[in-house]
Symmetry: C2
Subunit: 131 residues, 2 copies
């Protein structure tokens, strides 16, 4: 029988990772986070970064989504949406709560208890749509 962990610790690793995510407006991969944090904690490993990112995501402190076979993390947990360029992969934020609200309120799915919506606009960023 496995007893689920209840206490978490505020290690400097976790704190730095969190701080970094809160400081940027991008949606970095685990490796990108590692590259930023390793400058402050040279001994940190990629595995530790992964461990903490999952930890934070499970606790709802950060967001996590998959794109191009990689996890991307988001320090902003406010209700918002994303645009992803089909060509260059650039990810940008959209803050239009009404869109998510509408989707959730209109959904009629008897056999599903929806907690939130993930909304991703697929298309082309300014730079790529000009080509």
């Amino acid at each position: 029988m496995i007893k689920k962990q209840v206490k978490t610790r505020n290690t400097i690793q976790r704190i730095k990772i969190m701080k970094y995510l809160k400081s940027v407006k991008t949606h970095p991969t685990a490796e990108m986070v590692y590259n930023a944090v390793v400058k402050e904690i040279p001994s940190i490993t990629l595995a530790t970064v992964y461990r903490n990112l999952h930890n934070l995501a499970n606790k709802g402190k950060i967001l996590m989504f998959e794109f191009n076979k990689e996890y991307h993390f988001d320090g902003d947990t406010c209700n918002h949406q994303h645009c992803i360029c089909k060509k260059c992969g650039k990810i940008t934020d959209v803050f239009q709560e009404e869109i998510s609200k509408y989707a959730l309120s209109k959904l009629r799915a008897d056999n599903f208890d929806a907690k939130c919506v993930t909304i991703i606009f697929n298309g082309f960023c300014r730079k790529c749509s000009g080509v």
Copy 2:
């Protein structure tokens, strides 16, 4: 300089893969597609299945999305949305075009030319929400 391929061939492998995806209402992974198709074409390999799935997705004949570190494929290219259970991972369809329409019409993102929206409802399926 690489010249992009212009002609595609209707191999029995591609045809069977397509037929299979059109015949189911699930959202199988490449391996699941392989397991189904290999019954009819014993010599087919997983790599061929991957190649064709990407091919079909690029041509817009099928949909493709990532979930749990795996690609999932959808033979139904109609405008529709999905529900994914956070616990068991079950994926189900929602056919409410108005939700996607609303999202696309309301989006105001100057630097982005949106072509379509991916809408995923996250929550719990009947079976898992009862627990």
